[in-house]
């Protein structure tokens, strides 16, 4: 092989101790040893920062701190305490509200935009860059800008409403804890603006992989525009649609930075923009009187279970239909 020959030439051969050690250790053992040498860094990092914390989260959720240091078993006490906290239910409701609104707004919009962009013959590059640009901003920049637009006294959005003679809004700080609250809609709008570029580009790539003959055949059969979308575009991109749906729900259930920055870390009026991850943060680090790693861990375990059950069930349900 040419490659082998060049390699030999490139390597001014020193004596090969390798041949000698081969006598002591079998080649298989040597192979394994060097493989573990290559693996050790990543395995240590996974152990310290991923595997061990997973176990620790579960054990901590069943423990309580002992006065003077250390932990002792506490049974279900942490779980019992947090489910009696009204903020717990409020933040779950908000998170579900955010997830559902993000499905209505943040999931459908990028797909529609991708279909639209895919039909255009001009300015595609420009429009793609436009849609993706906000994704690259530091989230704090984008969110502080939206907080400025949302400001009830001097914000741009209320001014637009005033020009249109529409009632103004307090946006993120609009009181009210109804299931579809203005506070959460405001958070979703900012979040969609920031994040929709990624999904749009993934859909675009999927749309470009649809064979054109399918559309041609459908057109010959007399299928109109909408039935072409329904019977070709959607089934052909089904896998991506399902994948992104799942990834988006898992991501939106962990929403933190949007609520945190837009409400100045406060969670909105009557906690109506508080998310579950924000509550974990507050349990663990902010609420000094009730600051408690164990309650935070219990909430983390619950969120972990909810997400696992959701993704497991979702994968199962979508696989079922496929078979």
């Amino acid at each position: 092989m040419a490659g082998a020959a060049t390699l030999r030439k490139a390597r001014p051969g020193p004596a090969r101790p390798r041949a000698v050690t081969a006598g002591y250790l079998g080649p298989k053992v040597r192979r394994n040893l060097s493989a573990y040498g290559f693996l050790i860094g990543a395995v240590l990092c996974f152990t310290f920062f991923s595997w061990y914390p997973i176990i620790r989260e579960i054990t901590m959720s069943f423990q309580k701190a002992v006065y003077g240091g250390g932990y002792t078993w506490a049974g279900w006490a942490n779980y019992a305490r947090i489910v009696h906290d009204p903020t717990f239910w409020q933040s779950w409701r908000n998170t579900l509200e955010f997830t559902l609104l993000a499905l209505v707004i943040g999931y459908a919009v990028p797909f529609g935009v991708a279909i639209l962009l895919n039909e255009l013959r001009h300015a595609r590059g420009y429009l793609r860059v436009l849609v993706y640009l906000p994704v690259m901003l530091p989230p704090a920049s984008a969110l502080l800008l939206f907080a400025y637009f949302y400001n009830p006294q001097y914000g741009l959005f209320d001014d637009i409403l005033r020009i249109l003679h529409l009632p103004t809004s307090q946006w993120v700080f609009q009181p009210g804890t109804g299931f579809v609250s203005m506070a959460m809609i405001s958070v979703v709008v900012a979040s969609t603006w920031m994040n929709m570029g990624g999904a749009t580009l993934i859909y675009l790539a999927a749309l470009q992989n649809i064979p054109g003959e399918l559309y041609e055949a459908a057109e010959l059969d007399g299928a109109g525009l909408f039935s072409r979308i329904r019977h070709i575009t959607i089934p052909q991109t089904r896998l991506i649609l399902i994948m992104l749906l799942m990834l988006q729900v898992v991501a939106t259930m962990q929403m933190f930075v949007e609520s945190f920055v837009l409400t100045n870390g406060g969670g909105g009026v009557g906690d109506n923009a508080q998310s579950v991850v924000m509550l974990i943060y507050q349990y663990a680090f902010a609420d000094s009187s009730a600051s408690n790693y164990n309650s935070a861990s219990a909430l983390g375990v619950i969120l972990m279970l909810v997400l696992a059950v959701f993704s497991g069930g979702f994968l199962w349900a979508t696989r079922e239909r496929h078979a």
Partner: protein, 311 residues
């Protein structure tokens, strides 16, 4: 180098979608007179609406920082700064210590990138080409962490970083608190391993028979072929550090001089900072990524779709 050249040629290139493929609406249909007009109208509408929606906010991001504080909070808001105050950019730069925040973010980002490239590449190489005993178990355990989102684990992760088990080292406030956890990224390992798997074993066997060490094989044969996937992993890892908020808020917050990232620093600085300075600071924080994106847009956007979901 003939061998390497053929090797890279054999790795399948990504298919570029041609712009001539048939889409929902056929070109023939578009060429009709009435459709042509409709298409023009829609095209112009789309361009105008998209520019307003996506550039509009950025316009205010960059111009509102030029206003005076009174003008920035005036009702009704002014569409453009009537009196231009470039000094608010200077004030914001000094007040929020943008230079330091930017430097911190870049330092954390490239450090995390270096750690990930070294540890994740070697690990994926070992899992793909050396296949040690229990390698598949390790790989499975790594992939399993994809099911458990990072934000759920912040509390035990924070406590672990505050006192590493066995070693009893406190990493809080040190850059390693960001660098080392970033290595535990199963997605990297998955992408890299899948790519390494596609490299024909012949090249490696040939080099091995020749007596090249495994490190040398990795360096001289595997890595040169893997440039596309390394680019994808690098962009993902830089963007991840750049956009992260909760973790740097926990581990790098509250030091003097500041060790915060841009994101956290901006948020912390927002308390009590006049609105025009805050917007100016946000604009300055956005400039590096906008430039980075405009330069590397092709790689970033294709990396997103190639590495993202074609699994």
């Amino acid at each position: 180098m003939a061998g390497l050249a053929t090797a890279s040629a054999r790795v399948p290139r990504r298919r570029e979608a041609s712009s001539t493929t048939r889409t929902l609406i056929s070109s023939a249909q578009l060429n009709r007179r009435t459709s042509k007009i409709a298409y023009r109208v829609i095209l112009i509408l789309v361009i105008v609406v998209f520019t307003l929606v996506f550039i509009g906010p950025l316009y205010f991001l960059f111009t509102d920082g030029l206003k005076s504080t009174q003008e920035a909070i005036a009702t009704p808001p002014t569409l453009y700064p009537h009196h231009i105050h470039p000094s608010s950019y200077v004030q914001a730069y000094n007040r929020l210590d943008i230079a330091k925040l930017l430097w911190n973010t870049i330092y954390y980002g490239f450090g995390a990138l270096a750690f990930q490239l070294v540890f994740d590449v070697t690990a994926a190489y070992a899992l793909s080409k050396l296949r040690p005993a229990l390698g598949n178990v390790i790989f499975f355990l790594m992939l399993a962490t994809l099911m458990i989102p990072a934000t759920v684990l912040v509390v035990p992760q924070y406590l672990t970083v505050a006192s590493l088990p066995i070693l009893h080292v406190n990493l809080i406030g040190s850059p390693e608190a960001i660098w080392l956890p970033s290595v535990a990224n199963a997605f990297n390992i998955f992408l890299l391993r899948r790519f390494f798997d596609s490299i024909p074993g012949d090249y490696i066997d040939a080099a091995e028979i020749d007596g090249a060490s495994r490190l040398r094989i990795l360096w001289r044969i595997v890595l040169p072929i893997s440039r596309p996937i390394l680019a994808v992993v690098s962009i993902f890892s830089l963007v991840a550090v750049w956009k992260d908020f909760l973790w740097p808020l926990l581990v790098e917050y509250g030091y003097t001089p500041t060790r915060e990232t841009l994101n956290v620093g901006l948020f912390q600085g927002s308390y009590g900072t006049p609105q025009n300075l805050l917007i100016a600071a946000s604009a300055m924080a956005a400039v590096p990524t906008i430039i980075f994106f405009l330069i590397f847009q092709r790689n970033i956007m294709s990396g997103l779709t190639a590495g993202g979901l074609r699994g």
